[in-house]
């Protein structure tokens, strides 16, 4: 109970660290993602193992028998136990489902999921049964055996280098949780690269381990052991206890008992309470020592991803800025609207009696003027509607085309960056135009036109257009202002450049008379600014499609700080183990 309270801060610190580590998704790592995720999972499992052992310091020492394919791991386990508990044979790989053998008194530690939580327990007595390996979840066969010394649990792990990727994952999970490794390799394979990589990893974290060199011919024992010791020191920086198991006939899936005598003695020694405690501590301290370095590795990768994030968002930002610029240019060069709309309006403005009406607007409206208005209003309303519709179609299609071009550009540039390419493949809808794009642009343009009408209303109200019957004039003026906004060129407003049309004078005259020259300039520049603002909003919506996908994949900006902080926190409270 004392131990549990003392170590509570460390367990909490480890849980916190594990939580932040889980947040490293490495979704922007492209082809490096698998490797990085594997390392992250390693670390996470190591932490799980640490938590499990800290929370139950009195639990049996977990001795995992691991090694290369065909090195005879299961045969050794069977020999140690004295009966065939683990499947052996010539068909590789043999052990697909790991076996945990423990003294019946200690079995209670493993029946719940305090230790090796990710494995489903299969209780089994005596002879092997077929275990369904199609299942996705890894199973752990639990065997109670009185030949196993108290305080130890022996696990027969699958090989680390066979064709079966699943075997390797299971073996990794077991080795990460182990207190002590018993590494098996044969005389023919002891210089295998993969095997040495695992031993070097164990060396780096000072995992308690012993190595068994199997299938050794009696005459070569010394030579091989010497050579192997040298290689272990040189390549893995370890000087472990080395057992040699001589080649012998396998009977009933077991070697003759004396072949594993030294291993048996080692296990028995290991089961002593003091040795147990020191070995467990050694492995735990080793794992804690290297944890900061491991987390630093993750941090470097997260930083790398942050860089990628910067590159990808830069593409978005540059493209969006370019689109804004292009829209401004299209407005400047006056090609946002078809010429005939302009011509049609100017002709209308010049001939429909509008000017005459406006001339009289300030006077008291006579009955005569009212009747004339009535006669003209039908024709005018229709004409205005047509002109505004035509303008809306043109401006909306310009906006849609620019947005489409922007998407195309972002998609193309992302495609040249591996992480961007992966995002595009995971989100194929990014390459397509959003289905509501046209509706949205059209709505935006319609709203803009309504805004121009309101602008004319507010300006007009201050001037001469008070009478209610002049709504028609307001509408006509607004249409005129819409046309003028789109027809101006080179960024100069109509009054300065002269509205750049073949017959712009009529429209200009209309606007000037209704609003005055200063107001007209103000109105046109406001309308222009409003249109650009609305297009910028459309762009922002468009931009979000990409930034949201990116944000979902990118590491949180706080992740690095959190990793550093939590890793430090673990180091600060680890002294409670002593």
């Amino acid at each position: 109970m004392d131990e549990a309270t003392d170590t509570a801060p460390l367990v909490t610190a480890l849980r916190d660290l594990r939580h932040v580590i889980s947040a490293c998704s490495f979704s922007l790592s492209a082809d490096k993602a698998d490797e990085r995720r594997a390392e992250r999972d390693h670390l996470r499992r190591e932490i799980d193992g640490l938590i499990a052992r800290i929370s139950s310091l009195g639990s049996p020492l977990l001795v995992v028998v691991g090694g290369v394919t065909g090195s005879g791991k299961s045969t050794i386990v069977n020999t140690l136990v004295g009966r065939a508990v683990s499947r052996t044979g010539v068909i590789r790989p043999t052990t697909e489902s790991p076996v945990l053998i423990v003294h019946p008194v200690d079995a209670h530690w493993f029946t719940d999921d305090r230790v090796l939580a990710e494995f489903v327990r299969v209780e089994r007595e005596g002879r092997k049964t077929t275990v369904d390996t199609d299942d996705e979840t890894a199973r752990l066969q639990l065997i109670r055996d009185e030949d196993i010394p108290l305080g130890l649990a022996l696990v027969d792990a699958p090989d680390i280098d066979s064709l079966s990727v699943r075997n390797r994952a299971i073996a990794d999970a077991l080795l990460d949780a182990a207190d002590v490794w018993l590494w098996c390799t044969s005389a023919a394979k002891y210089a295998d690269q993969e095997s040495m990589r695992y031993l070097a990893r164990a060396g780096a974290r000072r995992t308690a381990l012993a190595v068994a060199l199997t299938r050794v011919d009696l005459e070569h024992v010394d030579e091989l052991a010497g050579d192997f010791r040298e290689k272990l020191a040189e390549r893995a920086s370890i000087e472990p206890e080395l057992f040699t198991v001589e080649t012998a006939r396998v009977i009933d899936e077991r070697l003759p008992r004396p072949a594993v005598g030294s291993i048996e003695r080692w296990l028995r020694e290991l089961s002593g309470p003091l040795v147990r405690r020191s070995r467990r501590r050694q492995t735990m301290e080793g794992a804690l020592d290297i944890m900061s370095a491991d987390v630093a590795g993750l941090i470097a990768w997260v930083a790398d991803e942050t860089g990628t994030l910067g590159v990808l968002s830069d593409v978005i930002n540059r493209t969006i800025a370019q689109s804004r610029h292009d829209f401004g240019n299209a407005l400047d060069d006056g090609r946002a609207m078809r010429d005939e709309v302009l011509l049609r309006w100017n002709r209308f403005a010049g001939t429909s009696g509008m000017l005459a009406l406006v001339e009289r607007a300030g006077e008291r409206a006579s009955a005569w003027a009212r009747s004339l208005m009535g006669a003209l209003s039908g024709e005018r309303a229709e004409e205005e509607e047509q002109v505004r519709e035509a303008v809306a179609i043109d401006v909306a299609s310009l906006a849609t085309q620019l947005l489409d071009l922007a998407s195309g550009r972002i998609v193309t540039e992302w495609g040249t960056i591996p992480a961007g390419k992966e995002l595009l493949e995971a989100n194929p809808e990014l390459a397509e135009a959003p289905p509501d794009l046209e509706v949205r642009t059209r709505k935006t343009v319609d709203e803009w036109q309504s805004t121009v009408v309101r602008l004319v209303e507010t300006k007009g109200a201050k001037r001469r257009l008070r009478a209610r019957w002049l709504t028609a004039v307001i509408n006509a003026t607004a249409t005129g202002a819409i046309i003028a906004t789109l027809a101006q060129t080179g960024g100069l407003t109509g009054a300065e450049a002269g509205i750049a049309t073949a017959a712009g004078a009529a429209n200009q005259a209309l606007l000037t008379r209704v609003l005055g020259a200063a107001n007209m300039r103000w109105l046109i520049s406001s309308a222009r600014a409003d249109l650009e603002r609305r297009f910028t909003e459309l762009l922002a919506v468009h931009r979000r499609r990409f930034t949201e996908v990116l944000a979902a994949a990118a590491p949180s900006p706080k992740l690095i700080a959190q990793l550093e902080e939590r890793a430090d926190a673990v180091q600060k409270v680890r002294s409670c183990l002593n």
Binding site: G89, R92, A188, D192, E194, M196, E340, L343, R347
Partner: protein, 523 residues
């Protein structure tokens, strides 16, 4: 050489190698570099191997550390040529066993960078022409061994994998080598060594399992020889298999054939589906035509025709009057006459967008780098296209044609006008003289009708009918002329578009060539 460059099917390797060379060039930058480099390596290796003749067949013993390659090698050589030992790894430098006096063997071994060579003095049960190599392992801590192995595995003619019961399912062997050699089933053998350590039932089970794994890798045809290099079990069969290979002398060609198929498969895996149709510029012509407002231009021309035709077919009287009476103010709606064709070129945004759409349409099914390239090439065509379109529009110089029927129609109309006027005048004279009581003779009558009345009726009816006919004819003429103008613009724009998107067509053609080349590489 002529015999060499043909494989067993009698098909030439040379054209396949050329096709591979073209395919490699076309794929550079569009596929992962390592894939292209590997294909390029195949091309180089094949050329270099072919240059060294087919007198020798090179068989390499390959496998993991401790599988007994060197022991097998020494058994085959009948001598302790290769170092065998218990320490792992043993063999660092490859050793060659050259059977008999083979022409070009030295050059071949130089190319393979195998310096240790051994020719047995006595008969060893192997056919002349065989070169057996003992390779280092590929899986030990000596990573330089793997480099040597990787190079030789790519260059030798036949691979004899030496496996053992402990390690035959090793991941590195299968994932690292065999999975890339499924096209080479004919030039691979497997020797399952150390079967002396197994009882017969185990041996059977082991071979069956190995065969299952090989079959799952597409190598079901590869023969498996259970042997024991130390005890000599099964070596006879292995020897005769090697002898047969040496006899056939086709191994080097089969090896290259496999390499070529593998390279083609690898490249093809990074290639999407080719566009189904050749580049069709019509949709783009339509968009550019719209952007350049071809319909408006054609409408304006048709209107000009109508005005000119109306003017030319006015009856003389109306013509005289038109100078005095002003025509009504032009319509309050847009008149096509106002259209100024010089005023605007198509909007660049519309053109760029149309080009992007075109590249998307043709890029569908292609892999991303090609899609990107198509888009880039298409958008690069935007500026030339605008310029070419602007030139094309200027090339169309349409003037409303004068029609031969205008003058006769005008004259006919004038004649009816005259007849009506004469009739009316005559009637007026008659009425006036009756009113004034002046003596007047009765006007002559035609068919029981008074001539002035007949003249008036005929003149007016004729005038009206002529006017109706004129309007109809002008309308039809204007429509035809408008269509002609429209077609003229379209033809010119189509030319411009074709010229502007030529680079895109080149890209698509290059892509299709690549697809064909890869087919040719497979043979």
């Amino acid at each position: 050489m002529s015999e060499l460059s043909r494989n067993k099917n009698g098909q030439g390797l040379a054209p396949r190698l050329h096709a591979l060379e073209r395919a490699v060039d076309a794929s550079r930058g569009m596929m992962p570099d390592e894939v292209v480099d590997r294909a390029a390596g195949v091309r180089t290796n094949a050329g270099e191997r072919l240059a060294r003749g087919d007198a020798a067949v090179v068989v390499a013993l390959a496998g993991g550390t401790g599988s007994g390659k060197s022991t097998l090698f020494n058994s085959l050589a009948g001598d302790d040529v290769a170092d065998v030992g218990v320490r792992r790894p043993t063999t660092t430098d490859p050793v060659a066993l050259v059977v008999g006096d083979i022409e070009g063997a030295d050059s071949l071994l130089d190319w393979l960078e195998v310096r240790k060579r051994f020719t047995p003095e006595r008969k060893i049960g192997l056919e002349t022409g065989l070169i057996v190599l003992d390779l280092p392992d590929h899986d030990s801590i000596r990573t330089d061994h793997k480099e040597t192995v990787d190079k030789l595995v790519r260059r030798v003619d036949v691979l004899l994998w030496v496996l053992d019961p402990q390690k035959y399912a090793q991941g590195l062997l299968h994932r690292g080598y065999l999975k890339d050699l499924r096209q080479h089933a004919e030039v691979q053998l497997v020797a399952l060594n150390k079967v002396d350590e197994l009882v017969p039932a185990e041996r059977e089970a082991c071979v069956t399992d190995l065969r299952r794994i090989l079959a799952s890798e597409g190598l079901g045809k590869v023969p498996i020889y259970p042997i024991s290099a130390t005890e000599g079990t099964g070596l006879g069969q292995l020897r005769s298999a090697l002898t047969e290979l040496a006899d056939r002398r086709t191994a080097s060609m089969q090896r290259i054939d496999g390499d070529l198929r593998k390279a083609a498969d690898d490249l093809a895996a990074h290639l999407g589906l080719p566009p189904e149709k050749p580049l069709d510029p019509d949709p783009l012509v339509e968009v550019v035509g719209n952007a350049a407002r071809v319909d408006d231009r054609a409408g304006a021309e048709a209107y000009r025709y109508t005005v000119a035709a109306r003017r030319a077919t006015r009856p003389p009287m109306l013509r005289a009057l038109s100078g005095i009476v002003r025509r009504r103010d032009p319509a309050s709606t847009f008149s096509p006459e106002d259209f100024d064709p010089e005023a605007r070129d198509p909007s660049p945004v519309a053109v760029q967008h149309a080009l992007q759409e075109l590249s998307v349409r043709y890029g569908r099914g292609l892999t991303r780098p090609w899609r990107s390239r198509l888009r880039e090439v298409a958008l690069n065509a935007s500026e030339p296209l605008q310029k070419l379109t602007s030139d094309a529009l200027a090339r169309v110089t349409a003037t409303p044609p004068r029609r031969s029927w205008w003058r006769p129609l005008s004259l006919a109309w004038g004649v009816f006008e005259l007849i009506a006027l004469i009739g009316i005048a005559w009637l007026l004279v008659l009425v006036a003289s009756t009113y004034l009581g002046l003596p007047a003779s009765d006007p002559p009558s035609v068919g029981g009708m008074s001539l002035p009345i007949v003249l008036t009726v005929v003149g007016i009816v004729g005038w009206v009918v002529t006017r109706l006919v004129r309007e109809r004819l002008i309308a039809v003429g204007a429509k035809r002329y408008g269509q002609w103008v429209r077609r003229a613009y379209h033809t010119e724009i189509a030319e411009a578009v074709k010229e502007a998107i030529a680079p895109l067509a080149v890209e698509i053609a290059a892509y299709q060539r690549l697809v064909e080349d890869l087919r040719a590489v497979v043979g």
